[in-house]
């Protein structure tokens, strides 16, 4: 087992498009690292460079202390699970699993043992003689994972492996992938655009945007203390509300109400972020007219304008406000995230 390190990794395509612009990242041995970001943010390109499927324009990729920039994918000691599984359609499940081992000249009995072991781990024992087309989506997904497991690699790479599954199966496989990874203890890089997957699976969450890393941290750190406005609005559903605000003596003024925040110099340009669940209904506070209500079962989402922008407020099920009502909202100073409107960076709060 070994860790993975990226140092100032860059990728510029021949057309001049900069897909990855200086990504540095350390994934400790055995960690589950999730790269998350919108499509086109370069996360897949990073993964493919780690796999060796894309050339590196500049920077270094180190797996287990060995720089692998120019090493062939097969010799990098990695295994990859593709979004569309990329199973060999003409091979039975057994051969799909065994193919990589055969190519490396692994002795037959050893292949047999490893394939059986992987099949047992994934509950595929009964499917070994089937062809991929005879399997369901979830089973194909398992085979794809099995193909990665049998190789006993130093690093697992997952490229949006759950996007082709239906919602229920996705939740189930999410748990299963996490369990397997813990059990095997293999360093993992997992790419997804789904922030729920990212939050639930990651030890180490990497939020990417525009070919760069916005923030690295545990899911909770990133949720609680987003480093930029981009991260704040990308992670969390419904997304964080961003309100225009004004730094004044003694705090931050939002829509005429001053919320006491220490450490912000009056006159500093500022934007205030607040998560929908941190806006509380109160007897006194900001006036908020409920334009419409989304009933989510466990909670309700109130939508309406506040301080000139559209805002979502999450309230418990069974709470009173209905469409058309005007309510009062209280904001706790501790729940407020302040960002620099120009750079989008988080402002230090006292």
């Amino acid at each position: 087992m070994a860790g993975l390190a990226l140092d100032q990794l860059r990728k510029t395509y021949s057309g001049g498009v900069e897909a990855v612009r200086g990504v540095s990242l350390d994934v400790p041995d055995g960690a589950f690292c999730v790269l998350v970001g919108p499509s086109g943010c370069g996360k897949s390109t990073v993964l493919r460079m780690i796999a060796g499927l894309e050339t590196v324009t500049s920077g270094a990729i180190t797996i287990g202390g060995r720089t692998v920039n120019t090493v062939e994918p097969a010799d990098r000691d990695i295994a990859m699970v593709f979004q569309n599984y990329a199973l060999y359609p003409h091979m039975r499940v057994y051969d799909n699993l065994a193919y990589g081992l055969r190519n490396r000249g692994t002795p037959k009995p050893e292949i047999e043992t490893r394939v059986r072991e992987a099949a047992r781990l994934l509950g595929l024992e009964a499917m070994l003689t089937r062809y991929p087309r005879q399997l369901s989506g979830g089973q194909r997904q398992r085979v794809a994972m099995g193909r990665a497991i049998v190789r006993k690699p130093q690093v697992f790479l997952f490229d949006e492996p759950l996007s082709n599954l239906d919602a229920k199966l996705r939740v189930q496989m999410r748990v299963e992938i996490r369990r397997l990874q813990r059990q095997l203890g293999v360093t993992t890089v997992y790419v997804t655009h789904d922030q729920v997957e990212a939050m639930t699976m990651a030890d180490r969450l990497v939020v990417m945007n525009g070919g760069q890393i916005e923030q690295v941290g545990t899911p909770i750190e990133i949720y609680r203390r987003p480093a930029t406005r981009y991260v704040a609005t990308f992670m969390g559903s419904p997304p964080m509300n961003i309100l225009p605000a004004e730094a004044v003596a003694g705090g931050v003024r939002i829509d005429g109400t001053v919320i006491p925040v220490a450490g912000i110099a009056p006159g500093t340009p500022v934007e205030a972020g607040i998560r929908p669940e941190d806006l509380r209904l109160a007897a006194d506070g900001l006036a908020f007219r409920v334009a419409f209500v989304e009933e989510l079962g466990a909670t309700r989402l109130l939508h309406g304008p506040l301080a000139g922008t559209d805002v979502a407020v999450q309230v418990p099920a069974g709470s009173a406000p209905q469409e058309g009502d005007t309510v009062r909202l209280a904001i706790d100073a501790g729940a407020l995230h302040l960002f620099d409107p120009a750079t989008g960076r988080r402002l230090a709060q006292g």
């Binding site: 097969a74 010799d75 979004q83 199973l87 060999y88």
Partner: protein, 280 residues
Amino acid sequence: MVENRRFGNLIPHLVLSLGVAVVAFPVYLALIGSTHDAATIANGQMPLWPGGNGIETYRRALTESGMAGAPVGLMLLNSTITALAIALGKIFISLLSAYALIYFRFPFRQTAFWAIFVTLMLPVEVRIYPTYKVAADLSLLDTYAGLALPLIASATATLLFRQFFLTVPNELVEASRIDGAGPVRFFLDTLLPLSRTTMAALFVIQFLYGWNQYLWPLLVTTRDDMQTVVIGLRKMTSITDQLTEWQIVMATAVLAMVPPVVVVFAMQKLFVRGLVETEK
């Protein structure tokens, strides 16, 4: 609705049956003709029922080098070897060239593609003099190589394989690379098995193409023992200094139909799949 559909079924069946009859009747006549003796056919009244001379006719056709100067058995062998060489050779060359075009980046790749494409406009008939000159200079006249080689270069097959390779997901190539399969391994282990149905379809088409060649074998063979059955058949119908034994001609025609029919029937399932289905 039910009546309507039944009626709707009747018309296509009628039309198709008529079509089959029109195509099949001459074949039936050839079959019948080959069972009568020369005199029966020569008197101008073609019988519609089998005669008693069949076994004798086929024995003579297969073994005696009569009107065509070589027995039909030998000509069938020549045709089979030529058609097989053309079909297999085309598949082999086209597979490799399509593989190179799709999976490798090399200078003048597009030029190579277009050069292959342009040869579509140059069938053997168009380039027949230079091709003959080349074949003659390489002393390929009256050889199987001479019969097959000039017909092997094929743009159609290359394009067909190219089209098929384009549908093979790129992830499969990448998965193979990660699994440690180099270009040759990927080609043999993955691409070739996936191309099976396309290869089958091409084999059928190209076998028939090779089998039915007339002009080129006519030019390139002078010896009777090297001629193909199509040439032999043509020769039999136009001999000048003796009586055409029509029952032998009919038998030869029937025999000449057998190998293509066998190929089509044997490969039918794969052939249809290769044309209509793109395997995932």
